[in-house]
């Protein structure tokens, strides 16, 4: 009974391996599943399956295609949405606050630019832009807190600057993660003698 359960669990784990295997390693997962048929001892079969699952999971993590692809599109989509929201807000603000609308419009265009760069796998450029925008947001807050003449609608600018700090730090973090992930993947492929 317990032996049967261990055999069933081993088979189930190896099925997971096949589902989890990255594109280039699918035949290895298939090979593992077929080797399991040769193992009669249930304990050995289970230990074999666990080892295979760990191997395939690590291969999956090493290639990190799933993470890079999905995170890149999510961040690109999110920055694209921010650009759209900013441009809609510009249209609404323009009659009452033309100067603030111009600032927001510029920020919206930068978000749109970042979205396009992320979609085209140019994460390092987005990292640079995000650092600049983060610094600008921070400087604006510092400027408003010092002896500079207060701009009209100061509260609005302050809110924009704080929002900038949060949003650009998020964009910076995500772009850095994607960029370093791609760099790591390139180096891993290079060290294994594959394509960079």
């Amino acid at each position: 009974m317990i032996g049967d359960m261990r055999h069933t669990t081993a088979t189930m784990l190896l099925r997971h391996c096949q589902a989890l295997a990255p594109k280039g390693k699918a035949q290895w997962a298939e090979a593992m599943a077929r080797e399991r048929d040769e193992i009669t001892d249930p304990g050995e079969a289970l230990a074999f399956a666990v080892g295979c699952l760990v191997t395939i999971s690590l291969e999956r993590a090493r290639t990190i295609d799933f993470l890079l692809g999905e995170v890149r599109w999510v961040v690109s989509g999110a920055t694209g949405l921010l650009a759209m929201f900013a441009l809609v807000a510009v249209l609404r603000m323009l009659p009452a606050y033309p100067q603030a609308a111009m600032v927001l419009g510029t920020i919206g265009l930068v978000f749109g630019w970042c979205s396009r760069l992320l979609a085209n796998c140019k994460e390092w450029r987005v990292v640079t832009i995000a650092i600049v925008m983060f610094a600008l947001s921070g400087l604006s807050i510092v400027a408003m807190n010092t002896s500079f003449p207060e701009p009209p609608h100061e509260a609005l600018y302050r809110a924009l600057a704080f929002e900038g700090l949060v949003l650009w730090s998020a964009v910076l973090g995500a772009s850095l993660a994607i960029a370093t992930g791609r760099l790591y993947k390139r180096q891993a492929n290079k060290s294994l003698g594959g394509e960079s």
Binding site: R34, E35, D37, F48, T55
Partner: protein, 90 residues
């Protein structure tokens, strides 16, 4: 690698290598994958002798793999650290 290099023309299966080397599947398969990625190991599906059984993946060193193995320094089991997961036959 030694297990594969002992009879270089012979195709070996994963489970046979596990039994012979005492390595766990979680140690053996990453090694086989790395060797294969570097062109040191060739793999192919071999039809079993028994009818009705599915084909199994079999491995052997390539000429480059054999050359690489011969260039490796010999492991002194008395003084050298034993690779993690490996069993030393005495």
């Amino acid at each position: 690698m030694q297990a594969l290099a002992d009879a270089p023309s012979r195709w070996r299966h994963g489970y046979d290598l596990i039994k012979e080397t005492g390595l766990k599947s979680g140690t053996l398969y990453p090694i086989l994958m790395r060797l294969s990625d570097r062109g040191l190991l060739e793999a192919q599906w071999l039809e079993p002798e028994q009818l009705g059984k599915p084909a199994r993946h079999a491995y052997r060193l390539t000429a480059k793999g054999l050359e690489f193995y011969r260039e490796l320094p010999t492991l002194n089991t008395e003084t050298d650290p034993i690779p993690y997961g490996a069993q030393v036959q005495t």
